[in-house]
């Protein structure tokens, strides 16, 4: 099931709707990179509220999105990791140390809009 990606100003918002197969996750990676390039996005929010499991493959793939988009100058924030899922990720041994996370969409947008990340700050 494809993950819809909405463009909101300089940001992209990808909202995962249901359990993802590995194929879906790889497709999401490709779609996000395509749209970041097309829209010259400054930030991406991936909303995982609907995910009841984040195993090592999904976690690694989301981490991959964060790293790839950073190389394009865009910051990724993962929002909505459920408490049980967070518990399982830590037990599993997944550390999301280099990935920005926020409680929900609103806080994720606030994180992307921190003053020092404003597009105006970047030299022309």
């Amino acid at each position: 099931m494809a993950v819809p990606i909405l463009k909101q100003g300089p940001y992209l918002i990808a909202t995962i709707q249901a359990a993802l197969t590995d194929t879906d996750v790889l497709q999401l990676q490709e779609d996000v990179m395509g749209q970041v390039t097309r829209h010259r996005s400054r930030g991406i929010i991936v909303d995982v509220t609907a995910l009841d499991v984040m195993d090592s493959f999904v976690s690694r793939s989301l981490q991959g999105i964060a790293r790839m988009t950073r190389l394009r100058g865009a910051e990724t924030v993962i929002v909505g990791i459920q408490p049980e899922v967070a518990f399982a990720m830590v037990q599993l041994g997944m550390s999301f140390e280099d990935v920005l996370t926020a409680l929900d969409l609103e806080e994720g947008l606030a994180l992307l809009q921190r003053p020092w990340k404003e597009p105006g700050e970047i030299a022309p």
Binding site: D22, T23, E84, A88
Partner: protein, 141 residues
């Protein structure tokens, strides 16, 4: 009440991995396993079922309800394949060791997520991983 006979889920594609963990979660939910334990179990199944698609190509997962002598219920998961097997099980159970290009968290991670974990494997004989998660009484609502 869920049926007591094992439920067999053939694992041939990544979609089957999702089916297997959802089936186990249904059994776990029916016995009032806590939501956290259900998630730990589902995550463990995801790891062992993915090992089947990654290393063996195909195999099967059995999920069933088990009871111990004290009457406590749990979910038992058997993930079986006839793939290449694992030559060095000790290493495969260490964090960070992988031959499949992943993070090497699958088996050691799955072991941490469940109450009981057993693995039976040998080169060219395939791999069988057995996981059990026992239900703890949910906190009073």
């Amino acid at each position: 009440m869920p049926p007591d006979g094992p439920d067999r889920i053939p694992i041939e594609s990544d979609a089957d991995v999702v089916t297997a963990r959802q089936r186990a979660r249904e059994l776990a939910a029916a016995m009032d396993m806590t939501s956290t334990d259900q998630t730990l179990l589902a995550t463990a199944i995801s790891e062992v079922a993915r090992n089947i698609t990654t290393y063996a190509g195909r195999g099967e997962v059995y999920v069933s309800v088990v009871r111990d002598a004290a009457g406590r219920e749990g979910v038992r998961v058997i993930a079986r394949d006839e793939g290449p097997g694992i030559a060095d099980v000790e290493r495969a159970l260490q964090d960070g060791y992988t031959t499949g290009g992943g993070l090497g968290l699958g088996l050691p991670g799955a072991r941490r997520l469940v109450d009981e974990f057993a693995i039976d494997t040998a080169p060219s004989r395939g791999t069988t991983v057995t996981l059990t998660k026992w239900s703890r009484p949910a906190r009073a609502a």
